[in-house]
């Protein structure tokens, strides 16, 4: 009889971007994002569970929990079973809270939708989309028994397991080449104000439009889709600012997928955040706003600047003084640092990009959707074939910014279909909320 040798538990350090999430998560902003697929038929839980089990074999990093070490949080492999369930909680509800050991993602379904919610410390949007694509393909294969070209799917994500689990920050950026952090003496950004929803609730406004039309509109102005929509966002925000408030700049934080600059097949975090700045005047002219935005993007999106910034962040993480501080002290320090940097930001916009799925499955899929928890206002763009989705999540009761934004879009002749989680009498589908609490 063979003796079983117990292997020590698999574990890994959190990557550079992930380290900031546990200290700065709370019920107000649990740092959870959702990517979802809307099908043309109702979701089948049994097929979904089978697909999930198979997907987890290909992404073993997802079978992890977060544990507290003396100096840092870390990921540890877990035997917890991931079960598919019908959506029964508020979107992007906290995944990591208290000392409970839980998996860092949730797969749920509701009517025609299949949702994947991920805690940001585990992965970024691009990484999560890889997981979702695999899940959906396996689900549709299980449900409809379609035969796929071996090539059609395998080629799209041909990453060995070690490449998927790769910490690309560690691979590309080092403290040796890092500089000192830039002193953020820039003027404080305009902060959106208004009646806030109770902690844990978000206003979600989703706009669906044809990709071809949005691309054409951006092209007509000589800009990329991200630049164009950032300008529309800034205009929509600006139109609600008083003349006095317009003295403050409107800064939009835009995450950049580093995989397009530094080759990586990592399914974990690999992104950098840039700040796009715009100063508004008494008159808001869209072309001016767009010009400022484009200049800002051009300034920030150079490979050299990104590399310097990431090396600085790496230097910060690997600094001996920073490393040796116990976690109990590091947490409030990091929390304070994140809160301070938030004051430099008015809102966030993230273009997750175009998601591709095998052609044979297109008749089962209507659209792909993505949105994220936020502390103020967040816009996420994602597209699948000709369905372009712009998703607003906001902690504010008011939908004025969303209204102005979508009216700008429709004025350009682009048809828009709006979905939202508001009820008719302006309740966000739930009546009771809690005060904000620190999650950890």
């Amino acid at each position: 009889m063979a003796t079983k040798i117990r292997q020590p538990r698999q574990w890994s350090r959190l990557d550079n971007a992930a380290k900031i999430f546990p200290p700065s998560s709370s019920t107000r902003d649990p740092r959870v994002f959702r990517v979802a697929v809307e099908l043309t038929q109702e979701a089948d839980p049994e097929s979904l569970q089978r697909a999930l089990d198979k997907t987890l074999e290909l992404f073993p990093m997802y079978k992890s929990v977060i544990k507290k070490g003396l100096f840092w949080y870390y990921l540890e492999a877990s035997d917890l079973k991931a079960a598919v369930s019908e959506e029964c909680e508020l979107p992007c509800s906290p995944i990591l809270f208290g000392n409970r050991k839980r998996l860092l993602f949730k797969v749920s379904y509701y009517k025609f939708r299949i949702n994947l919610e991920v805690y940001h410390a585990l992965s970024d949007g691009t990484g999560a989309l890889q997981f979702l694509r695999t899940l959906i393909v396996l689900y549709l294969q299980d449900k409809h028994g379609c035969e796929l070209d071996k090539d059609a799917f395998a080629l799209d994500y041909d990453a060995a397991r070690s490449e998927r689990d790769d910490d690309s920050f560690l691979k590309y950026f080092s403290k040796e080449r890092g500089g000192r952090p830039r002193n953020p003496r820039a003027p404080k950004a305009y902060q959106i104000r208004g009646d806030m929803l109770p902690a844990g609730q978000m206003s979600i406004t989703e706009g669906l439009m044809p990709s071809s039309k949005i691309k054409a509109a951006a092209k007509a102005y000589g800009a990329t889709i991200t630049e164009f929509l950032t300008a529309v966002l800034v205009t929509a925000i600006g139109e609600g600012m008083s003349l006095r408030q317009r003295l403050k700049p409107v800064n939009i934080s835009v995450p950049v997928n580093l995989r397009q600059y530094f080759p990586s097949l990592s399914a974990r975090n690999f992104f950098a955040v840039i700040t796009v700045r715009c100063k508004l005047g008494p008159e808001i002219v869209f072309e001016d706003v767009l010009a400022q935005i484009r200049r800002s993007f051009a300034d920030e999106l150079t490979e050299e600047k990104i590399r310097t910034r990431m090396n600085t962040l790496a230097a910060l993480e690997h600094n001996v003084a920073m490393k040796a501080v116990p976690l109990v002290l590091k947490n409030p320090i990091m929390h304070a640092a994140v809160m301070t940097s938030k004051r430099q930001i008015t809102a966030g916009l993230s273009n997750v990009g175009q998601i591709s799925l095998p052609e044979q499955l297109s008749k089962y899929i209507r659209l792909v959707d993505a949105f994220s928890s936020t502390r103020n206002l967040q816009v996420i763009l994602v597209s699948y074939r000709d369905s372009f989705v712009i998703n607003f999540t906001s902690v504010f009761h008011s939908t004025d910014i969303q209204r102005r934004f979508f009216r700008h879009i429709t004025r350009l002749g682009i048809e828009c279909e709006i979905s939202t989680n508001w009820t008719d009498n302006r309740d966000v589908l739930i009546t009771e909320g809690d005060d904000e609490q620190r999650v950890l």
């Binding site: 117990r6 020590p8 538990r9 574990w11 350090r13 809307e38 544990k67 070490g69 003396l70 100096f71 840092w72 870390y74 540890e76 019908e86 959506e87 029964c88 909680e89 508020l90 979107p91 208290g98 000392n99 409970r100 050991k101 509701y110 009517k111 025609f112 939708r113 979600i204 406004t205 706009g207 490393k323 040796a324 939908t399 969303q402 209204r403 979508f406 009216r407 429709t410 004025r411 048809e415 828009c416 279909e417 709006i418 979905s419 939202t420 989680n421 508001w422 009820t423 008719d424 302006r426 589908l429 739930i430 009546t431 009771e432 809690d434």
Partner: protein, 222 residues
Amino acid sequence: MTSSVFCEKCNVTVRGNYSRCPLCQQPLAGEAVDGIFPHVKPHIRRLKKIMRLAAFFSIVSVVTCVALNVAFPSYGWWSVFVIAGLASLWLSLGVLINKMDNIYKAIVWQVVLISVLALVWDVFTGFRGWSVDFVIPILCTASMAALAVIAQAARLNLEDYVIYLVIDAVWGILCILLIIFNIAEIIIPSLICVAVSVISLSALYIFAGQALKAELKRRLHL
């Protein structure tokens, strides 16, 4: 598929049978909403409600006692005991609830906390030595026994709780300081505690050395 209505002011189709536009609140043709998100029932955290009531009663008790004490000062400042007692209770309960998800963590935290509280109470009531003679060593020994029993009963992976066994045993070994520095007058409970701690740590090292080393590497990584 869900139905939809058109808002003329915003020039958008709204998915769901809305009677008011979600963007501009203008009336629309629909009657009842049926959307892409489920209606979620509110979570009422029962624990929070109980905590609020308990906090309120504590404040009432403290205020009443202090008022009575000020009115009738002849028996000494007994209200301080009430305040200190309630404060200790709240501290202990607070830590327990915070660490409740992990029973080992909860036990270890309680042992350390109650030891410190007992010492403080002892010192402030004339240092008769009951905390160092009995409370601290017996608490440590009992907790080591409790952890061992729970570990057996719950049949969890050793790696999940080995770190807590170690912390508890180290705390137990520290009781030797009570003997060396003559802080404790009755040394038998402390002796038993130290002996049990040393035996536990040795057993852990000998039988589960690898799991222990792996766990320490994870927890202490820089």
